[in-house]
Amino acid sequence: MAAEVAVATISAPHDYLPIIVQLIVVLAFVGGTILATHFLGPKRKSKAKLDPFECGIEIHGNARTPFSIKYFLVAILFVLFDVEIIFMYPWAVNFKENLSVGFEAGMNNFIQMSIFLGVVLLGFIYVIKKGVLKWD
């Protein structure tokens, strides 16, 4: 089968050469466009124009103000779950192969991940019960 041939082929660092090429192309586009628009547009500056836009009312202080702590909690929880999900990729990739060894091996593999998921889910339930993700 075609897919198995592809698995057998080696993955090597030079697979990433096109990505470097793409980076150069996109960088050139972004840099060129920003430069071009800088030189093309008119420049007529005034105090009112350069002030932050607050719907025409006089501006109050500036934007370096604290905001809800919820956003911070979401960021922390995101880091935790992101790492957890990353751990699942090496497992998922090998899942079918382990199963092809035998039912026992596959089931073992499944249970291993279920334990991991279960413990993390306990934390998730705790987070929800604590009302951290309630936004009103």
Partner: protein, 162 residues
């Protein structure tokens, strides 16, 4: 070819790391840390540790630094918060930093004794990594779940203090 790439990447890594330290504005520092992480991911790719490279990008550059940036946004960065610390603290920081440096050098010295030929070229690919993780390192892996649990509880108690 690969060697030149390595030199270029190393120069970028070290340069960005230095800029991280020397930037006055913490937001610039975060950006340079992200650039450093990307070049380290490049190093992983040169070593053919592709999964580690992408983990470096997703977890460090994509998740942890988002958290850092969020924290920075809570700070009022208008006032220059750069205050001069007492001399004693400066010396203590230097000593502890130097000790960490020593430990790192020691670990690298022992690490260098591993013959490069004994390392498999495809050990960092996701399949092999998964096989090792779920056989040899199964217990530490399950233990990280408990670590996650405690971190969640810790984060909540810290931020919910009234």
């Amino acid at each position: 070819m690969l060697l030149y790439l390595f030199y270029i990447l190393s120069a970028i890594t070290v340069g960005c790391a230095l800029l991280t330290i020397f930037s006055k504005n913490p937001v610039y520092s975060v950006l340079f840390v992200i650039a450093t992480f990307f070049s380290i991911a490049g190093h992983f790719i040169l070593l053919n540790a592709q999964f580690l490279a992408i983990v470096q990008v997703i977890v460090y550059a994509g998740a942890i630094m988002v958290l850092f940036l969020t924290v920075l946004m809570y700070l009022n960065l208008n006032k220059s918060v750069e205050s001069s610390k007492p001399l004693l603290i400066k010396i203590a920081a230097m000593v502890s930093g130097g000790l960490l440096f020593l430990v790192l050098i020691a670990s690298f010295k022992s690490g260098l004794s591993i013959a490069p030929t004994s390392v498999r070229g495809d050990a960092g690919l996701i399949k092999n990594l998964g096989n090792t993780l779920f056989t040899e390192y199964l217990f530490p892996f399950e233990a990280t779940a408990v670590l996650f649990l405690s971190t969640m509880a810790g984060a909540i108690t810290l931020t919910r203090k009234k």
